[in-house]
């Protein structure tokens, strides 16, 4: 019997598979299809202080081995998430959930995190400083080490829960941003968010997305994720949650060898609603295939020698 357990800041997960924010809603759509308690955890839909409708449509476009999205952080706002979504979630998910938070100012990040800090079911805060689809916020914090550090410090000051800073790949040196977060007190980092991208409609001769640009995800970005997790692992000693195009148990192992302590699955949930469950069910077989008894022992294994 192989051991798939991993730990994130003192909380043990049955397995490292975590559906990524924005691809799993607040869990209900998937709980209707299967028992989501098989998940290691999941990261709920990016939540902001105030409700947001998000961007105009079209918000979605096809890409080679992937997709673009420009949803723009549609969410009901943190108060409704706490009063409506979390009570409903408790009925279908008995494990700690990862609360994904976005904001447009340092104060807003802190306010939203302070409210979520009081919620028992929230195991970790995943602070998104890397959304490419909203203007004047999100990604600008994740593109500058000192701004990333400032958000980290502000959030750490209002919560006792572990704080994972979600980083953007749309930077020259992601390791420097990760290091700045670690130095500012982050308990971990999660990466990568989507890559800034665009498609153009040949008939209309205009960008396909109403927002013009969107974030690229799916298998197309997986090698970028592996490279960035590998680089960040060399730069920091806090845990890394790896993500970006993960679609199989083999992908999970590859990202863990690069340095991830746990792995998020994003776009794959949208094309196959059972993707996360299938990866979890497949993991023991693939571990055996590669001679892995204890999954946590392979974290960063590709760096040896």
């Amino acid at each position: 019997m192989v051991d798939t357990r991993v730990a994130l800041s003192g909380i043990t997960l049955d397995n490292p598979v975590i559906p990524a924010s924005g691809t799993f809603g607040y869990g209900h759509e998937f709980a209707e299809l299967y028992d989501i308690n098989c998940l290691g955890a999941f990261s709920f839909k990016g939540t902001t202080r105030a409700p947001r409708f998000g961007n105009p449509t079209p918000r979605i476009a096809e890409a080679p081995a992937g997709m673009l999205n420009a949803v723009g952080l549609q969410n009901p706002g943190v108060e409704k998430v706490i009063s409506e979504e979390l009570p409903k979630l408790r009925e279908v998910f008995r494990k700690p959930v990862m609360a994904n938070v976005s904001g447009f100012s340092v104060e807003e990040y802190a306010e939203t995190c302070a409210l979520l800090d009081k919620e028992d079911q929230v195991g970790w805060l995943e602070v998104n400083i890397s959304c490419p689809n909203v203007h004047g916020g999100g990604m600008s914090f994740g593109a500058d080490p000192s701004a990333a550090a400032e958000v980290t410090r502000a959030v750490k000051a209002v919560t006792t829960k572990p704080v994972y800073m979600k980083l953007s790949p749309n930077v020259t040196d992601i390791a420097a941003i990760a290091k700045a977060c670690e130095d500012a007190g982050a308990d971990g980092v999660s990466l990568i968010n989507t890559l800034l991208a665009m498609r153009i409609d040949l008939k209309r001769r205009k960008p396909l997305l109403a927002n013009r640009t969107g974030g690229l995800s799916g298998p197309a970005v997986f090698p970028v994720a592996v490279r960035m997790v590998y680089q960040v692992y060399e730069a920091v000693s806090i845990p890394i949650i790896g993500m970006g195009g993960v679609s199989s148990a083999e992908d999970v192992i590859e990202l863990m060898l690069a340095g991830a302590s746990a792995v998020e699955v994003g776009a794959a949930n949208l094309v196959d609603p059972f993707a996360a469950r299938n990866i979890i069910e497949d993991l023991p077989r693939v571990m055996e295939q590669y001679g892995i008894d204890t999954l946590s022992e392979i974290i960063g294994g590709a760096h040896n020698g």
């Binding site: 979605i60 096809e62 196959d272």
Partner: protein, 242 residues
């Protein structure tokens, strides 16, 4: 909603670029006319949403227009092959809202779900009246199938090459208590303005997942934010903000 494999029984052209695909497989997830399926296509990442035209205990009929790489790939699929579907998506038309004499208005490739709706209305003992709009004679499909249901059927073409010349809104009957419509957005808007009664309108949008997880197809309505894939694609006239 269920995921399943469906066997292709036929995949035949109805017009130059519209095709009818008959699939055998589990139709138990389909609970209302106007629902759709999300089809996985080799070589493409995202599934493609296609409305259900008709279904029975053995399988379902999809009608699609070849407009891009996804539908072009679908057109090349041969009988005997299999398709991976998410089946029974969306709310569909609520037949209980329809009055005894209900207009069933379809425009172009928005016509297919209206066929299944007409059959569902007949099963409910109601009297559907079909008004089907196309651009030109060559683009007309399923007129005979609608007439074979024994229902009053009017066809319009924009160029007058068949049926009544003009748009569907030019020939709406006088006596009806409710309407259901599916077609291009300009047609839906015209029907919304021309119709004297309440009604249900079915919308199209680029989708990510098709089952309500990604917020890719959201719209604002008078009843709050809705996901076209999950809370739609059918919206009530009263909630639409036009």
């Amino acid at each position: 909603m269920k995921q399943g494999l469906y066997r292709i029984e036929s995949n035949r052209p109805l017009t130059a670029d519209v095709r009818e695909l008959r699939l055998a497989g589990d139709t138990s997830p389909i609970t209302a006319p106007g629902q759709f399926v999300n089809v996985r296509i080799d070589g493409l990442y995202l599934r493609r949403p296609i409305s259900v035209c008709d279904w029975d205990g053995d399988g379902l009929t999809l009608i699609y227009k070849v407009v891009g790489r996804g539908t072009a790939a679908l057109a090349r699929m041969a009988p005997g092959g299999e398709l991976d579907l998410l089946c029974g998506l969306g709310n569909g038309f609520d037949v209980s809202k329809c009055t005894q004499r209900t207009l069933v208005i379809g425009g172009g490739v928005g016509t297919p779900p209206m066929y299944g709706l007409a059959k569902a209305l007949l099963r409910a003992g109601k009297t559907p009246v079909a008004v089907l709009g196309f651009n030109t004679r060559d683009e007309i499909f399923y007129e005979a199938e609608f007439r074979a249901l024994g229902i009053e059927t009017t066809v319009t073409t924009v160029d007058g090459s068949a049926g009544i010349k003009g748009f569907v809104t030019g020939t709406l009957p006088e006596d009806y208590g409710y309407y259901c419509a599916c077609g291009p957005e300009p047609m839906l808007k015209a029907v919304y303005r021309a119709a004297r009664t309440s009604g249900l309108l079915s919308f199209e949008e680029r989708m990510g997942c098709g089952f309500g997880a990604c917020m890719g197809c959201s719209c604002e309505t008078r009843y709050g934010n809705k996901r076209i894939c999950r809370d739609g694609p059918v919206l009530e006239k009263e909630e639409i903000i036009w």
